[in-house]
Subunit: 464 residues, 2 copies
């Protein structure tokens, strides 16, 4: 199947570049999805965009802005009349609006904000007051809120009234007189209810909610689990502040997994194509410097075994094999542990079980690969290095055992380090792939050369 | 902030274990979210669950089943009367229903399916007919579909009628007489429209859609971009088959990113805590065997340079440093490239730009770290290894240059390999972290020992 069949951009450009009347053009453009219109915007000339700002109504333009990245949106606001700009921004989801404002210079921003309604200004300040790790910074105030003492008919009327401004209507939130969260009504239930039914029967009073100050990391799994279109966000006095919508959740999941992914690769944050060189360097440098430092420690430990290598140079060739396998196994255990820690909160017993399970996997995989290496490397040394069979299999035996031990210990290290990080309150994803790899290098070097020293040189007195 | 304030499980258990009348208990339980009820279910005894199956109505039970993992759901179906089981399953989202059926033994499954309505059976067969990579396998048939020639009032009536069975009501899909997809109406617009308005004005006829046979990977980014509650899924004759809901999209994003994450860690798939040892081993073995093979290739290349090490054992100690840094830099470039490839379809020119950008980053970071290593390692060799200053800085100079070169080449390799994989139609995530690391080991070994051989031994005639 070829990639994506529809591309509405050309159709949209054709409509805008045609000579139809404003009313006909506006009605044609309303048939398109705001996301497709947003995609077409950067392809227009400034003159064509001027035309669009006049032809489309404020709601339509604010919908398009929702799908425009904040840099472009800030650019469009600069192009248009400041009053129109303020009106469009006012109708956006508050979190998106805050993002666009951050991209506009101070003087203009001040004018824009002054032109907005008091309640929009209040919403902006509230969202901006939360830390970016807190769920409150990602919510929107676009939701339908009604009082708990209404009839079904009154509730429906209130919904119709609010729907013009707020389009997240699939769940209706019910509050008490003092704005405390009371419960939620599924719009479906309201629509099919008889007009004279009491609203009370429709309200789910044990509806899930989050507090605005909760950490995103702590509640994201639960938000996902409810798979609701919107989850209410409360302040510490249980007043309803806004909602987290399913599209917010998609963004959160994307961000959170993207962060774990980046960390596993030794990046401090995700990058995209447009990023300037300096930014990219900054995201990669911190880990590289830490790893260079750790690498030097590994090197000085290897240096201790210089005499082993001088006496038995052949074992040097297999150092990278042992180190790489230890690193790989450690990274596997690490990745599994990080995901498990993200999805569930473990009891002490479960943590121990996890460590033992990872070690068992390390042991079993290590045994299999150890035997495989023992057989193959022995043959290799015998045939290609011109050594005796005994010598070849003594060396490959040492490699097999070192591989087994290194894989066993690496699994344990790859599991324990993120568990420890979590325990002391550090994001376990920080124990990233490269860090684990380097730590396990140390383990593997000591195991391998230590074994070689004791067993091959000390016991068997091999040389050459 | 402590983790998650609410936990409804205890409240739910208390209600179920109380001695209230069935009607009172059912009304109390309806106040809870189906997800919380689903969480409480495994904590009940079988007897208590029997009670629940009798007390709750079919719709409520099927809601709970939506939030139950398919293993547990299959267990509950076995516990209850087969007719009730079939009724509950019939009301579930089709994709979830198909998953539960897969966990039930053949004989029982056959009876259950026979007890279901024709249209449910038809939906099951349709969803099961798609490959698991195709978007059709993840859709649900739970959506509101109306004909295009209705009035606003008729449309509203049709909605109320269908809403009892289908709860994804926020978008209403419009089809022609032959079931071909015509457009979509936002429920909000329908609710606030005047009763006598023509439906035609409300329909967005250029609404986004996907074809059921499209690859999930190909359309996931677009589905995310529209951030709609539901996107229609069409067959190849443009007939509406079902929808992808935002909660489906959350799952898809989670799966897709989880897969990339697992691959980067050298796992063939994501694992969870409950997985048996054998399954875990199977997911890790394939990569480990490939990597062992590659590691042996690296080792035999290192073996070629045995004579270099014999003459100059000190350079052996820094092998792991160069190899690790090359691996780290390559993994960084790889991770960035995979994400970029996932998000956008690149032109040839953009691909070249990406490779050059990554190489520039590799060069700049390599230069910085090369100079740092040159300075520090020189001092280390001079002070701790008792060599002359000239010897120390000759060796550390060789290490610095090797580091720079290895990082430059590794960036290029880390970018080109996933680009190449994409080109030939292999998932670029397959060029996982461990694979890139091992390939870059080869690059680094040749660079490092090659330089040492030519420069230190060939030109400077160092030894010892």
């Amino acid at each position: 199947m070829e990639k994506r069949v529809q591309d509405y951009t050309q159709d949209i450009l054709a409509v805008i570049r045609s000579n139809t009347s404003p009313a006909a053009m506006s009605s044609k453009l309303e048939d398109f999805h705001a996301n497709d219109l947003a995609d077409a915007m950067p392809r227009l000339t400034v003159q064509e965009r001027y035309k669009l700002y006049r032809i489309l109504d404020i709601n339509m333009l604010s919908d398009i802005f929702e799908y425009t990245d904040s840099d472009n949106a800030a650019e469009y606001v600069k192009e248009m009349d400041v009053k129109k700009g303020a009106a469009i921004l006012s109708r956006m989801e508050t979190d998106a609006l805050v993002e666009v404002l951050q991209k506009i210079d101070k003087a203009k921003k001040k004018i824009l904000v002054e032109l907005m309604d008091d309640d929009v200004r209040h919403d902006i300040e509230m969202i901006a007051s939360f830390d970016e790790d807190e769920i409150g910074s990602r919510m929107t105030t676009n939701c339908i809120i009604i009082r708990e003492n209404l009839t079904v008919k009154q509730a429906m009327n209130s919904l119709v009234e609010q729907a013009a401004k707020n389009d997240n209507i699939s769940t209706i939130f019910v509050v008490t007189e003092s704005q405390k969260f009371y419960g939620a009504i599924d719009l479906k239930d309201l629509i099919i209810a008889r007009q004279d039914k009491s609203l009370e029967d429709l309200v789910a009073t044990s509806y899930p909610y989050v507090y605005a100050e909760e950490d995103i990391d702590d509640c994201i799994e639960e938000l996902k689990a409810y798979s609701e279109d919107s989850i209410p966000v409360l302040d510490n006095d249980n007043r309803l502040l806004g909602v987290i919508t399913s599209s917010n959740i998609i963004d959160l999941v994307d961000d959170e997994m993207g962060e774990d992914y980046a960390m596993l690769a030794g990046l401090t944050a995700e990058e995209d194509l447009k990023e300037p060189l300096k930014e990219s360097m900054k995201k990669r440098m911190p880990w590289l410097i830490v790893l260079l430092g750790l690498g030097m420690v590994v090197s000085s430990v290897v240096g201790v075994f210089e005499s082993v290598v001088t006496q038995l140079p052949i074992i040097m060739a297999f150092q990278s094999l042992i180190l790489d396998m230890a690193g790989n196994v450690g990274t596997q255990s690490l990745a599994v542990t990080i995901r498990v820690l993200m999805d569930e909160s473990l009891t002490g017993k479960q943590k121990l079980e996890l460590v033992f399970k990872e070690m068992r996997i390390g042991l079993c995989n290590g045994a299999l690969l150890g035997i495989l290496s023992f057989a193959l490397i022995g043959l290799y040394i015998y045939f290609f290095k011109g050594k005796t069979l005994v010598f070849a299999y003594a060396v490959s035996g040492c490699i097999g055992v070192a591989l087994l031990l290194a894989m066993l210990i690496s699994s344990a290290v790859g599991t324990c380090i993120p568990l420890f990080f979590k325990k002391v309150g550090v994001d376990p994803a920080v124990a990233s792939g490269p860090l684990i790899t380097t730590v396990n290098d140390l383990v593997a070097v000591v195991t391998y050369y230590g074994l070689g020293w004791v067993f091959l040189i000390g016991v068997l007195h091999l040389a050459g």
